[in-house]
């Protein structure tokens, strides 16, 4: 061991973060220690603050620092649309695009009997309850195009059928994408979903 144990422990903890490995964690820790006042101490304070205050929005499952997240407390977002996503990361990806002006519902996973994840674990009953509570007109299913994702989409569609309009995200050619690099399934989906110019 070449570092004092406290720093070694910090490197080990950082190395467990997504996107980091032992080498990049060591580089990040060295960087922070060299800038203790400017970066390390503020980072530690901010992490403590987030650790103390971060919580799941009781309405949609987004992560915030209050019982209700800013999206759920914003009356302008109550436009009758709810976009259902698998994870908070998906919600943030949608928000980055700044194109959706409704609210979200984060499931926290997809249905998987093999992993013992059922509707109760996925906040599906809460979604069903929100339909009436928030006078929802349309539910947009933005779930992964995997077997589990599509099973979950079918399940939700079955539960909400005839109560609300159901739509799902389109599948096809990505913006800036070239046909030559697409797999057959994507090309088929894109062709089936073609629209008049």
């Amino acid at each position: 061991m070449t570092q004092p144990s406290e720093i070694e422990r910090l490197i080990e903890m950082m190395a467990k973060l997504p996107g980091l490995g032992p080498r990049s964690a060591r580089r990040a820790v060295l960087h922070l220690v060299a800038r203790r006042d400017a970066q390390l101490a503020p980072l530690a304070r901010q992490m403590q603050l987030v650790a103390d205050t971060a919580r799941e929005c009781t309405n949609c499952g987004n992560i915030g620092t209050a019982d209700l997240c800013p999206i759920c407390t914003d009356p302008r977002r109550a436009n009758g649309q709810i976009c259902v996503v698998e994870t908070v990361a998906d919600l943030w990806a949608m928000e980055r695009a700044s194109v959706f002006s409704g609210r979200y519902h984060v499931l926290g996973g997809t249905l998987s009997a093999l992993d013992a994840i059922g509707p109760e674990e996925l906040r599906i009953p809460q979604l069903v309850a929100r339909i009436d509570e928030e006078a929802v007109r349309e539910v947009i299913l933005a779930l992964p195009a995997t077997v589990d994702g599509q099973t979950t989409a079918h399940y939700i569609a079955d539960r909400l059928e005839e109560r609300v309009a159901l739509t799902s995200l389109a599948q096809g050619v990505p913006i800036g994408g070239e046909l030559d690099f697409l797999d057959d399934g994507t090309i088929t989906a894109a062709l089936n979903a073609r629209k008049p110019l």
């Binding site: 059922g118 077997v147 079918h154 057959d184």
Partner: protein, 366 residues
């Protein structure tokens, strides 16, 4: 030459091969040597150029050379209709198999669109007399050779069915959850059934059109009970079968229960009742018909792996097999214990001798 073949193959720490290289020109390759020298290991490495677990259906860690168990690497240059692709498969000790095509990481299923590989192994000699599993796998390999997307449908079906079986075993009774899974099973299941039928049609047509020394087979897909092959009907069948499936704890209808039925056409005799020699001849006939149909469809014969194929054939049949393989223009990797088994090939094939010394295989191109 145009076509579909490996022009170079390199193995590192793969089974009995510490390091081995083969340079090939597209002709058939006759591999001979004593039992246990490592001939079939070469064929297994080539079988990995097709999606799946290879011709031995072995776990990736089993392929590591012992006792080092450092992991393994197989690299090949695949000539595919005038285009060359470098395909690299590797597995670190304790890790999963990784695939790179032309230096870029790729999923396993991508191989199905680049290479077509068909094999015949001694373990398949009992195909017609053992359980339906082996015949279903054989049928799916035929379908996969024509339709690379067959693999995706099979994976999707298998995943959804395992989920449904878990619900059945745990006696969960949420109709919406069942319906969601059955909808996925029905879509993938209908695609699987259609792919199998279309593939068999092509193989039967290729048998009928060919002049061959091997017997023709009448082929069909059979189920233990009626199986709707159309998506909506299959979804309905699954929904109606829930009560029965709950009692059984598993799904009782679907393409996972299919069996490949074959009849020796000339004699009108089911394959299972034919002699051992006739059963082998039927298998060879199907593999050749599969290859001919593919050659007509994609413009090149698939790579053939014929392990110990010459052993059960008399000299006349052997010569006929070699003539048909050469006429197809297929790169057939064939193994046998001695060079005499391949005499009839003359200069139409490359030859490699495989020997073993100190637990390590050695190749000697002749």
């Amino acid at each position: 030459m145009p076509g579909l073949y490996l022009s170079h193959l390199a193995l590192s720490h793969f089974r009995s091969h510490r390091r081995a290289e083969v340079a090939a020109d597209g002709r058939p390759i006759a591999i001979f040597g004593p039992n246990g020298a490592g001939k079939t290991n070469l064929l297994e490495a080539v079988s990995l150029f097709s999606p799946g677990r290879g011709m031995r259906r072995a776990a990736v860690q089993e392929m590591s050379r012992k006792p080092e168990a450092l992991g393994w690497k197989v690299v090949g240059v695949l000539q595919s209709l005038g285009h060359a692709h470098e395909i690299e498969m590797r597995c670190e000790a304790g890790g999963a198999r990784e695939l790179r095509v032309d230096g870029k990481s790729a999923p396993q299923l991508a191989l199905g669109r680049l290479a077509r590989v068909i094999w015949l192994t001694p373990a398949m000699d009992r195909l017609w007399t053992e359980g339906a599993d082996g015949r279903r796998r054989f049928l799916d390999r035929i379908a996969l050779s024509f339709f690379p997307e067959h693999g995706e449908a099979a994976l999707a079906y298998e995943k959804a069915m395992r989920e449904r079986n878990r619900l059945l075993k745990e006696d969960l009774r949420d109709p919406a959850w069942y319906a969601a899974l059955e909808s996925q099973m029905a879509r993938a299941g209908a695609a699987i059934a259609a792919g199998r039928r279309a593939a068999l049609d092509r193989v039967e047509a290729a048998q009928a059109a060919a002049e061959t020394a091997f017997p023709a087979a009448e082929l069909g897909v059979r189920y233990p009970e009626e199986m709707p092959e159309v998506e909506e009907a299959l979804a309905t069948g699954l929904a109606e079968g829930r009560r029965r499936d709950l009692a059984a704890g598993r799904t009782l209808i679907g393409p996972h229960r299919a069996d490949l039925a074959a009849t020796y056409a000339e004699k009108g005799m089911p394959a299972a009742e034919c002699s051992t020699g006739e059963q082998k001849a039927l298998l060879i006939s199907l593999v050749l018909a599969n290859a001919r149909a593919l050659a007509g469809e994609i413009g090149a014969a698939p790579i053939l792996l014929l392990d110990e194929v010459a052993a059960h054939l008399d000299a006349g049949r052997r010569a006929a097999l070699y003539d048909e393989v050469c006429a197809l223009g297929a790169q057939a990797w064939m193994t046998g214990t001695g060079p005499d088994l391949f005499e009839a090939l003359g200069d139409r094939a490359q030859r490699i001798e495989v020997t073993e010394a100190g637990g390590e295989s050695h190749l000697r191109p002749l």
